[in-house]
């Protein structure tokens, strides 16, 4: 327990080293050769992905005197984060090439944000949780405002900064309450404490946990901390929006799962948390899906859609038993491929049309059938149409909520929202396949992106036809978490 065990931190250390390495190399590269930084970042993302397979890391365990934990969930999520970063580097190459300045800094910040996400997956005490989350948040403050000359980008950065600071304060306040109620910030001690027969669930503890979930809800875009999402998604550079909609969101979720795993062991605490999380989940579902309907900007639409998707994962978290955890992990992994697929298309359509209007997508089937097909499959998976991966994820999450009788209403809310979401996703699909093109622009994607999109499509299909492959990864990781294996 008291050992440093630094070998377990290899992925995190490598991510920080890669970030600093890119920053230093940037100094020596002449302007016309800066594109090498993009290649270097892609290689770094692949190396980071592979580094989670080093036997000593994959074996798992405690490090840093028990404040760092590598378990099945941490490993799975680190791999998901590395894949996300790789996708972001693949689709951001042209965008960064066009920047007149700060190319190296873009990649540095992305890699350092990735190191923060890695840490989020492995934190085992509240102090590390806060610092790891702030590493991610602060990187995104800058990345969102990266287009300094664009008013929208700077405005988005400022909005994120203000709301992010408020939510960080809520989170810290919650942590202080929990520390006051329990006298410790270490998850290992808390895990032992909450199941002790003489443990008293005080009001302070419950208030603290509510505040912590609200603070984390900022990252996962859960109501009521969702207000920044559409504006920031619209204003941020599109590759950053893609990174934020997946990486930063999942970092929030993995922390939610971790906190739930620690406190949900106690049936008394779970009984307090479940109605609260279920209420937030239901509001998030309705807000995201109803808000998406009138949108005319694809990035705003994806912003509302990402709020709606957050609601589904909250269903599994509210259910707080093994199947909910497994469903949440499954959904998070499938979300990486689905959302990245959609954003891969958005980036290249926007490059051709120079705008993000939904009208740009009219007639995409004729101007670039391949991108159109990829986008269609991505949207259908987001909507949860069988036989795609998104369907299986929704099924698992709704199933886990169905397990506990007091959450049946939430299942109906989820089902109603599936139908609402289907409507606006299908509207985009209809526009792409049936409407005539408005602009003569012909979107093209480079070969490396085509390959990445193709692989994502295959994974979405494979995850739908053979969900047992991914479930074989998520179910053991969820079982390890120590929540009850039956609904409460």
């Amino acid at each position: 327990m008291d050992k440093l065990n630094l070998i377990l931190l290899v992925p995190e250390l490598l991510a920080v080293a890669a970030g600093i390495g890119v920053m230093l190399w940037d100094l020596w590269l002449p302007r016309e050769k800066k594109i090498a930084l993009s290649t270097a970042s892609m290689v770094a993302a692949v190396v980071l992905f592979l580094s989670t397979f080093i036997p000593a890391v994959a074996e798992g365990g405690h490090a840093m005197g028990g404040t760092f934990l590598v378990d099945g969930m941490a490993l799975l999520m680190k791999r998901a984060f590395a894949v996300t970063a790789l996708f972001v580097f693949l689709i951001s190459r042209e965008y960064v090439e066009d920047l007149e300045r700060g190319q190296g800094e873009f990649y540095t910040l992305c890699l350092l944000a990735l190191s923060g996400m890695f840490l989020c997956a492995s934190v085992n005490d509240f102090m590390s949780l806060f610092v790891a989350l702030e590493v991610v948040t602060v990187s995104f403050f800058v990345l969102v405002a990266f287009k300094r000359r664009s008013t929208k980008s700077v405005e988005a950065g400022l909005k994120l900064l203000v709301i992010g600071s408020v939510s960080a304060a809520l989170l810290l306040y919650g942590i202080a309450f929990v520390y006051g109620a329990t006298g410790t910030v270490f998850f290992d001690e808390l895990r032992a404490d909450v199941v002790a027969p003489d443990f008293i669930v005080s009001t302070e503890l419950v208030i603290g946990l509510f505040l912590i979930f609200l603070g984390l809800g900022f990252k996962t875009s859960a109501v009521p901390m969702h207000v920044w999402v559409p504006d920031v998604y619209e204003g941020a550079p599109t590759p950053v929006t893609a990174f934020m909609s997946v990486g930063s969101k999942l970092a929030g979720f993995v922390l939610m799962l971790r906190v739930l795993e620690v406190f949900g062991r106690s049936a008394a605490i779970a009984a307090e948390l479940t109605p609260f999380l279920a209420l937030i989940g239901a509001l998030t579902l309705f807000y995201g899906n109803l808000g998406a309907i009138p949108q005319t900007n694809i990035k705003r639409l994806m912003g509302y859609s990402s709020i709606g998707q957050c609601g589904y994962i909250l269903l599994g978290i509210a259910a707080a038993w093994t199947m909910g955890m497994s469903g949440a992990l499954f959904y998070m992994v499938s979300y990486v491929f689905t959302n990245m697929l959609v954003f891969g298309v958005i980036v290249y359509v926007a490059r051709a049309t120079k705008s993000h209007d939904l009208d740009d997508y009219s007639g995409l089937a004729r101007s670039n059938p391949m991108l159109c097909a990829a986008m269609t499959i991505g949207l259908l998976s987001l909507a949860g149409v069988p036989p795609l991966m998104g369907f299986v994820g929704k099924l698992l999450l709704l199933g886990s909520a169905f397990g506990s009788p007091e959450l049946h209403w939430l299942v109906y809310v989820g089902l109603i929202n599936v139908v609402i979401a289907m409507y606006y996703y299908l509207c985009v699909i209809k526009r792409m396949w049936i409407h005539d093109a408005r602009s003569p622009a012909k979107p093209v994607a480079p070969m490396r992106v085509k390959i990445a999109l193709g692989i994502s499509v295959l994974i979405l299909l494979a995850g739908g036809f053979a969900p047992q492959i991914l479930e074989g990864l998520t179910a053991p990781a969820a079982a390890e978490l120590g929540l009850p294996s039956r609904p409460r």
Partner: protein, 178 residues
Amino acid sequence: MDPWTFWLGGSLALGGGLLTVTRKNAVASVLWLIVAFLGMSTLFLGMDAGFIGVLQILVYAGAIMILFLFVIMLLNLTPSGLLRMDRPRGTTLGLASAAAFIALIVAIVTGGQQWTGGQGGGSEAAILERTGEASMLEGSVLDIADQLFNAHLLPFEAASVLLLVAIVGAVALTKRKL
């Protein structure tokens, strides 16, 4: 904690914070923030966290707030941005604070007699005896170092990454030519 210390520190911190966010003049906001930090520092001292309490004043009120003031003054705010501060009679306040400062020095010099000339004198053994007691107080530098470098090593190191991100970000967002 002594309830008086709690109420004094708490009301200073909250009142200062409230005035910080309600002032129209940015300089006045910064000055009220210093008051809020003094309140925080009182609370820390009340909890026997002497080192943190002193750091709160040295680092936050002393260094960071002065930096804030410099930045605000360098921003070239338009006249409408720098509203006139309504300041009470300068001479009276100045004399009052000078008197308080002199009183403080006199108190330290006369009260400090026991440290140099009192029983035990300034011998090494006497100093060790007195300081040895002081370091047993909770919240001493030793305790904080132990917490930082043992129990909370991971967040301590991760904070350095956080600072790196903040520095790179600040430069990337503000520097004209990179």
